[in-house]
């Protein structure tokens, strides 16, 4: 079992004249109305979550939901109003400025929505920048930067300036820069939303390829649910500063905790999201047929077989034991009806 890398507990961020005083003066957890009437703008409200080592946690929500603020609180770019941010077991909100700089220089990397490249530096110098500020000597940092530039597929463009690159290429530079110091935690703030849809898809694949190699602990912000499903291990859906639900994509679709989550997940293509287990009917124990499908397979991968079969198809677990059956009708219901079987 993997361990917790990054976590926050009862994290709050309010904007206003004296937010922490206001929050301390509240008897319990103030509602959103109380906060607004008090003259404060709630950005993050009482968020508690954990990110496991090597996990991709996607925080997803519409604009104004507080997802970017949450990310910035986790990276301590914004000072939270209340709560704790635990990184590798220590509360980084208690870290001094010097310690924080040190943590960022060695353990954190961040990718920005609009790339945030330095316009006066070449690709190589942009990527080498985090190494330069921590004092790595020129030869070493350039060698490392070349390595990372090659990793993101920009070999040959080292001498270019950001404005000479396309949006997708610029974001590759942003990714390379965030990876230069070999961080443990990787923050991505809507990294692909400023890109065209085709490039976006290509970059998502690129991102997954990199993650397979590097196995970072990732907090990934997006407003695009399709993107969330593609990259996430777990998804947190935010609304009005609160995490409405946190779980795997499948859990969100099959067991939405709130009407908002249900509304969100309604039009998601279920065949690439639901596994056989989620829609199968239970079966009495007997020897499974040889044509049986695996319980954790996605519906898309078994659809052809199930739909062309007259009889329900047997479902087995990883050990080969029969756990249920999947009929043509229940498959069609799962894919094409608005209501998802609970």
């Amino acid at each position: 079992m993997s361990e917790t890398k990054l976590a926050c507990r009862n994290l709050w961020k309010l904007y206003g004249s004296d937010p922490s005083g206001f929050l301390r003066g509240q008897p319990g957890t103030p509602s959103i109305e109380t906060i607004r009437v008090g003259g404060y703008i709630p950005a993050v409200r009482d968020v508690t979550l954990e990110v496991m080592t090597g996990e991709i946690l996607v925080v997803m929500g519409l604009s104004g939901s507080g997802k970017s603020t949450l990310l910035r609180c986790l990276a301590r770019l914004i000072e939270p109003t209340a709560g704790e941010v635990m990184f590798e077991g220590r509360d980084i909100l208690a870290a001094s400025e010097r310690e924080m700089i040190d943590i960022r220089r060695h353990k954190m990397g961040m990718v920005f929505q609009h790339f945030a490249l330095l316009p006066h530096r070449t690709v190589l110098d942009n990527v080498a920048f985090p190494l330069q500020v921590r004092g790595t000597d020129r030869q070493k940092r350039e060698a490392r930067a070349r390595e990372v530039v090659e990793l993101v597929g920009l070999k040959g463009r080292e001498g270019y300036y950001p404005r000479e690159l396309s949006g997708g290429q610029q974001q590759r530079v942003g990714i390379a820069r965030s990876l230069a110091v070999g961080p443990d935690v990787w923050f991505l703030d809507e990294p692909f939303s400023a890109l065209d849809p085709l490039i976006r898809r290509e970059m998502q694949d690129e991102f997954l390829r990199l993650q397979q190699m590097l196995n970072k602990t990732i907090v990934f912000i997006t407003h695009d649910f399709d993107e969330a499903i593609r990259v996430a291990d777990r998804i947190a859906i935010m609304k009005d500063g609160v995490v409405e639900q946190l779980g795997t994509a499948e859990e969100l679709v099959t067991h939405p905790a709130t009407p908002y989550v249900a509304e969100f997940t309604r039009n998601v293509p279920h065949d690439r999201l639901l596994s056989v287990r989620a829609v199968m009917a239970p079966a009495s124990s007997r020897t499974p047929e040889t044509t049986a499908v695996r319980a954790h397979a996605l519906l898309a991968s078994v659809a052809r077989q199930v739909l062309s079969s007259e009889r329900p198809v047997d479902v087995v677990d990883d050990a080969g034991m029969l756990v249920g059956t999947l009929s043509r009708d229940s498959l069609i219901d799962a894919l094409y009806s608005a209501e998802v079987p609970a």
Binding site: H120, P130, S178
Partner: protein
């Protein structure tokens, strides 16, 4: 975004007063006081003499105290200022030695004119293209060939020394303001006032604390050019995207690294635009600083103008204008130049072609100098003069246009200027104060009302109300004429891409001219007096209204215009129903700028004999009356700031309501 506009409009509807009743409330006290003027007690019509607050005396006490009594241990304040002024003589001597004077002490001659020309050309080529190269090399050649070499190089050396110093000080102030909020809240209002002070107001304290002469002129130039740099530094650093700053932070930058390696380089372009402003302000000031004895082209120009030698004055004017255009283009090109990648296997020559070419120019010109002295100095027997041509032109103008110009001038005076002046002088001062305060209240609430009322009361009680009214009347007439001429030009120019390009080029070019230059043609046409002064103001202040009209009209969102076209608007309907209403806030900002420009010019026009506040400032300069100069300068600045505060408040709220801001 849409939510905030919605809230804003709702809040607006909450207010009980509709626009109509609001403007009535603004106008009513004014109209009442104006119409009842004959029944009002005297004190309410004219500012009573014994109400005058002795600002001037206070300022003079302060100045005298600083000058004579403030002693820091071994040296006095005056020693300090003079000592600081001494510091500028060194770089000035070096640059002047390089460009024109040489170093007789060590037997080194100045740079040959051929070398300066070659280097100027290379700089132009490096910063943009061969056309800029031609312009800058041509400018240098012009100075040599037309006998303006010495004067122009002296002027240039003041600019080359003053601009970096002013730039660095302004830069430092800007950084401090961005990093320390308390400093910003202190320095920004000060910058506002400083930037609205007329040029002459800078000269008077310089004359008092440093004295008169070339050095004093250089110091005045430095001080005058600091505020725009400080302002553009603040603007530039604040304009750096928050994300870029965060990227720096996430890379583990310390505060200093964030500033030095992230923020400043990212703001490079705004900062270089600031440098451009500094250079142009320096050139404008170094011309005017000839009043306190700065040498160079401006000094010669002033001398010729005083002797009414218009032809020779024009020759100097052309040289200044040429220098202004060249310096502007070069510094602008530097601001907009973007770095490009070089091939990784490029040789030294490919990496630094211009450095190599510059070395070549230096060597080549030195070689030529060894062969012929003509390469060192342009031979005086080949010096051309355009003065005869200009003289002929002036004579022709005087002979052929004298009659019609006299008619125009007299008609202007009799039917426009004098009636408006009388009207202005008939307005009770209380009425004006009431109008300004009410407008401030309507546009920005109590705070704005008190601010602008404070400005007006200062002017009233400083004891120069009548002089200020003359200034106000001249500015009003000039601004009205500017709007009448400038608005149609702007509308015409906004019609096509090509016209916009031409108009912008003209505006850019005319704006680079030091304001003093505009007096030359005016003196030529109208000699001296109010008509001449107002004409000079109009020419100068026309630029911003044209520029802002074009900008406003062209920046109306294309979608809204297309919506108008698809609704079946004719071109006229498109202009009056869509473009104009949406561009109007921007046009008002243009009028605001026009007022500022007009105020600057009206003071300089004191040189050609006005009777307004500028004349008083001029006199204060002659008598070295620093206190009076300061108070009068503040009167002018407060006039400008009153207009500025009111118009800006209106335009911002209007833009917000239109959803444009």
């Amino acid at each position: 975004m849409s939510a905030t506009t919605l809230i804003a409009s709702e809040q607006h509807q909450d207010k009980p007063s509709t626009p109509l009743t609001k403007s009535l409330i603004v106008l009513l006290p004014f109209l009442f006081l104006l119409l009842a003027a004959s029944m009002l007690p005297d004190w309410a019509v004219q500012v009573p003499k014994n109400w005058t607050v002795p600002f001037v005396d206070w300022a003079n006490v302060l100045v005298e105290h600083l000058r004579d009594d403030t002693v820091f241990g071994l040296f006095s304040f005056r020693d300090l200022t003079r000592g600081a002024a001494e510091l500028i003589t060194w770089p000035l001597a070096i640059v002047e030695g390089l460009l024109v004077a040489g170093f007789p002490a060590i037997g080194l001659p100045a740079m040959p004119w051929l070398m300066i020309m070659g280097l100027a050309g290379l700089l132009g080529w490096h910063l943009r293209d061969w056309r800029l190269a031609l312009l800058s090399a041509g400018c240098v050649a012009y100075m040599a060939i037309f006998g303006k070499w010495e004067l122009s190089m002296i002027t240039l050396s003041v600019v080359l020394v003053a601009a970096p110093i002013a730039g660095l000080i302004g830069f430092g102030i800007g950084i401090l303001a961005v990093k320390r909020p308390w400093f910003e809240s202190l320095v920004v209002p000060l910058l506002n006032v400083l930037q609205s002070l007329p040029h002459f107001s800078y000269l008077i304290p310089i004359a008092v604390f440093i004295g008169v002469g070339h050095k004093a002129g250089a110091i005045a130039t430095v001080i005058f050019a600091i505020p725009p740099m400080a302002r553009l530094t603040i603007l530039g650093l604040k304009g750096v995207a928050e994300e870029v700053r965060e990227a720096g932070k996430m890379a583990g930058c310390t505060r200093f690294q964030t500033l030095w390696m992230v923020e400043i380089p990212s703001a490079r372009q705004s900062l270089l635009v600031g440098v451009n402003q500094v250079i142009m302000q320096c050139l404008a000031m170094v011309v005017i600083a000839s009043f306190v004895g700065a040498r160079g082209l401006g000094h010669d120009l002033l001398f010729r103008l005083q002797a009414l030698k218009i032809g020779q004055a024009l020759e100097n004017g052309v040289a200044i204008v040429l220098m202004a255009i060249t310096l502007d283009q070069l510094s602008r090109a530097a601001a907009y130049k973007q770095p490009s990648h070089v091939a990784p296997d490029a040789s030294w020559l490919q990496r630094f072609p211009f450095l190599a070419a510059a070395a070549l120019v230096v060597l080549g010109s030195l070689l030529l100098t060894a062969i012929t002295p003509y390469a060192q100095n342009w031979p005086s027997q080949f010096t051309l003069s355009t003065a005869p041509f200009w003289d002929a032109l002036v004579r022709w103008v005087t002979v052929t246009l004298y009659g019609p110009l006299q008619v125009l001038r007299n008609a202007m005076l009799l039917y426009v200027l004098i009636p408006i002046r009388d009207l202005f002088q008939g307005i009770p001062w209380t009425a004006i104060a009431a109008l300004v305060a009410a407008a401030g209240w309507a546009l920005g609430g109590l705070r704005l009302a008190l601010t602008v009322l404070g400005f007006v009361l200062f002017i009233a009680f400083a004891g120069y109300w009548e002089r200020s009214l003359i200034t106000a009347y001249m500015v009003t007439v000039a601004v009205l004429i500017c709007v009448i001429i400038g608005l149609p030009i702007g509308i015409w120019a906004s019609r096509s891409e090509r016209r916009t390009g031409i108009a912008k080029l003209l505006c850019d070019t005319f704006q680079t001219f030091p304001s003093f230059i505009y007096l030359i043609p005016v003196i030529m046409l109208f000699k001296v007096g109010d008509v001449a002064a107002i004409s000079a103001i109009i020419i100068y202040a026309l630029i911003p209204i044209v520029r802002y009209t074009i900008f406003g009209l062209r920046n109306v969102p294309a979608e809204i215009v297309e919506a108008g076209i698809t609704s079946g608007c004719t071109r006229r309907q498109l202009l009056w129903n869509i473009r104009m209403p949406l561009a109007f806030p921007e046009i008002m900002l243009g009028i605001n700028q026009t007022i500022m420009f007009a105020l600057f010019m009206v003071i300089i026009a004191a040189f050609i004999g006005t009777k307004d506040i500028g004349q008083e400032i001029f006199r204060a300069l002659t008598f070295n009356d620093a206190g009076k100069g300061l108070v009068l300068g503040l009167c002018v600045a407060f006039m400008g700031l009153t207009a500025d505060q009111l118009i800006t408040a209106w335009a911002t709220s209007r833009k917000r309501r239109l959803g444009l801001a």
